[in-house]
């Protein structure tokens, strides 16, 4: 063995799913004691490859080697036993269990002495400076703390290789920096960390080497991150030179369209989710709502769209009080809504493209009491054409459409109604780079045509790029507000974490 043996070697991995080749001979090597980024767009095959390494999927071809030895995993437990731990995007934690119970769930003594277990978990946490109380229950913890529990679980099982699947998606910028320190400590301890991401600045900041995947193939293997610019990484990921971030021309905002005054509302657990929110959206501006998930953004968009009752406060559109108006009345008054759950709230997965396209306006496509199918189809064809929705036929169920196409259809439907205000909740989440760009362009076009846009996003870079103003929400309140041009990334990050900048 040489001085820095390879911890992981994935050679010629093939994995197909019905209709998709996720990995087409993908290669990956990770050195011991290093933090290795795996980059790629959605659908590049990152998650599938990691699930192969973690024993969730079995590859059809190719081999997996750990520390030079060939291994075959039948299930995740095998992989764990061999020292591969994975922190999935959706945490695998039991909310009603304590931290300690979750940590030892997979590897406990036959008879439990919880006091001793808690001490040992606390010791392990201290060793890596993971700040978490073993006696607390998972449901009491923030997303950042939950992630630490997941990492603790892997450490408890003595994982030599830790896979983090888009770990910063649920974190505030400051929590992300803390995570960076933790994984650096693990690397210094001789462990290897695989860091999946599509955020370039994080890769620059936290990782030693990067492997870039595109279309299931490795397009760049184990490049030292220090020598790379984010532009180079981006080019490798997308396969073509990306233009600089979109930025709309600054302009004077027009009249006030939507206004929310002292709005309060409860969440699904009857706890206060919004307290005294006041904001307004003017013609020709994009107002971005920043914040970590679960700080009231969802409730805010629901209340504005009429899907959730407010407990006090008012919502006005064109100076008219619509606080108690039904969703349809609001829609007719010129308020369009792109909900966070695009399938479920926005679109009905079992209905056809046409049916989904006319969900809002079906009353306009009727002959007597019946739907005029020909007119509905004509309308739908119009939406599909103008918003470039790629679909086999108009009668196809939308369940088969990709995320980007679903979102184009939804945005198309909402914009075709010629609204004056559009509320868009996480409109680009889960889309690939091309899809994100397309949706952002549509929203900017709408703004340039004089619409007011309220855009809720967890992606701060996106908000910084396209918003005229940014409002930061924290625990149901407005924590800070910035003009787009002079918004400072780190100040917003602090506000998102609930600290005054």
């Amino acid at each position: 063995m040489d001085a820095a043996p390879l911890a992981v070697e994935l050679k010629g991995i093939w994995k197909r799913f019905p209709g998709v080749v996720a990995n087409a001979g993908t290669e990956l090597t990770v050195k011991r004691g290093s933090i290795h980024a795996v980059l790629g767009e959605n659908g590049a095959g990152k998650s599938t490859l990691m699930n192969v390494l973690a024993g969730v999927y079995r590859p059809e071809e190719g081999e997996v080697r750990l520390f030079g030895e060939r291994v075959v995993f039948a299930n995740p437990a095998d992989a764990l036993a061999a020292g591969v731990g994975m922190v999935h995007q959706e945490f695998r934690l039991v909310p009603t269990f304590t931290v300690a119970e979750n940590v030892v769930l997979g590897a406990a003594d036959r008879v439990l002495n919880m006091g001793a277990v808690e001490r040992r978990v606390a010791e392990l946490a201290g060793q890596f400076s993971l700040d978490v109380d073993p006696q607390r229950h998972i449901w009491q913890l923030s997303m950042g703390e939950r992630q630490r529990v997941e990492i603790l679980k892997a450490l408890w099982r003595d994982a030599e290789i830790l896979i983090l699947d888009e770990p910063t998606a649920v974190l505030t910028p400051n929590e992300a920096d803390e995570l960076g320190l933790v994984i650096r400590r693990m690397a210094n301890d001789g462990r290897s960390v695989i860091f999946i991401s599509h955020k370039l600045h994080e890769v620059k900041q936290y990782c030693d080497e990067a492997t870039v995947l595109r279309g299931g193939k490795t397009v760049a293997a184990s490049m030292p991150v220090a020598d790379l610019t984010p532009q180079q990484l981006a080019e490798l990921m997308v396969g073509e030179a990306t233009e600089a971030a979109l930025r709309p021309e600054p302009r004077q905002a027009g009249e006030q369209l939507l206004s929310v005054q002292n709005l309060c509302a409860l969440n699904n657990r009857s706890l206060e989710a919004l307290s005294n929110i006041s904001l307004s959206v003017h013609a020709g501006e994009i107002v971005g709502i920043a914040g970590v998930a679960g700080n009231g953004q969802r409730e805010l968009s629901d209340v504005i769209a009429g899907l959730r009752e407010s407990t006090s406060g008012t919502v006005t559109l064109f100076g008219e009080d619509i606080t108690t108006a039904t969703p349809r009345q609001r829609f007719r008054a010129g308020l369009s809504y792109i909900p966070e759950d695009r399938v479920g709230v926005g679109l009905a997965p079992q209905l056809s493209v046409t049916d989904n396209a006319i969900l809002r306006s079906y009353r306009e496509h009727t002959r007597g009491p019946l739907i005029a199918v020909d007119r509905a189809k004509a309308f739908c064809a119009d939406v599909v054409d103008s918003f470039k929705v790629r679909t086999g036929s108009l009668d196809q169920r939308i369940a088969g459409l990709s995320g980007g196409n679903l979102q184009r259809l939804l945005v198309g439907r909402e914009l075709t109604a010629e609204p004056s205000v559009i509320v868009a909740s996480q409109p680009t989440r889960g889309l690939d780079v091309q899809g994100v760009k397309a949706i952002q362009e549509l929203l900017i076009d709408a703004r340039n045509e004089g619409l007011g846009v309220l855009m809720i996003s967890e992606d701060l870079d996106e908000l910084l790029a396209i918003s005229d103003r940014i409002i930061v929400m924290h625990e149901g309140q407005i924590a800070a507000e910035y003009e787009g041009a002079d918004a400072d990334r780190s100040a917003i990050g602090l506000a998102m974490a609930g600290e005054s900048p």
Partner: protein, 316 residues
Amino acid sequence: MIFGLTFPEAAVIGLLFAAIQFGAMIYLASLGEMIAERAGVLNLGVEGMMAMGAVGGFVFAIETGNPWLGLLAAAVIGGAVAMIHGLFAVVLGANQVVSGLALTIFGVGLANFWGTDYEGLRPEVQFVDVDWGPLSDISWIGRILFQQSPLAYSAVLLGCLTWFVLNRTRGGLALRAAGESAATADAAGHSVLGLRLFAVAIGGAFAGIGGAYLSLSISPGWTVGVVAGRGWIAVALVIFGAWKVRRVALGAFLFGLAMALPNRTESFDLPWDPILWSMLPYILTIAVMIAGALVLRNRPPPAPAALGLPFRREER
């Protein structure tokens, strides 16, 4: 006299004795259901499993001449019948409510059919109440607590054992995880299917023992409808007890009281017909369900989060 009611000593002792007797019987069935539910499987077949345990226990006790062999048979039969639910609801992922209801209908029907030839037989074999020597001679307490059937003491023992296994062992932790978040238990390397099948089988065995308690000790013999809806009470009791071993025990005693009272209305000079009083446990069951729903309306439920949800490992 309190509130115009008389409390003759013998009647009170008899009532409390019977409350513990009925309570222990219902506790066994409830405990079993609780174990299954903590693993994430709702089994509404308790009534059917109790009926099968009652008839099977009785038949085997008569044929072998040994009540303990009858009890063993009741546990095995209860567990075996439960595996029908295990097959459909756990392995095949069928709707747990439908599968459980079917099990009740099937179990009660089969028990009635099997018991035809044994109906009305006066058994020579039945459980003899335990004699704890001097303890049994203590006035009041001796009669109420220390002259019970061995099955009552086994209920206490099984309750303690269940608590220990659920809360203090690796297996119990895994079983609870299977009921709270099956994907998490799976990812940690536990077999969700295995844990759930085990829990359902144990639940069936406990229900079978509860049924045998009826046919071999409380009212020795077999008659059609001897279980009389008590399986449903056992299911309600799990909710009443908030899926906790000790609170289910408390609830079992209260329901035991409600079940023991109707036979003693005359001793207490209670108004109304005894038939009305015999509705008490069932009215209590409905009341508990409604109260539970009201209390929990705005709170996260204490029920296992994955209760009633079949588990299938995610494959794309």
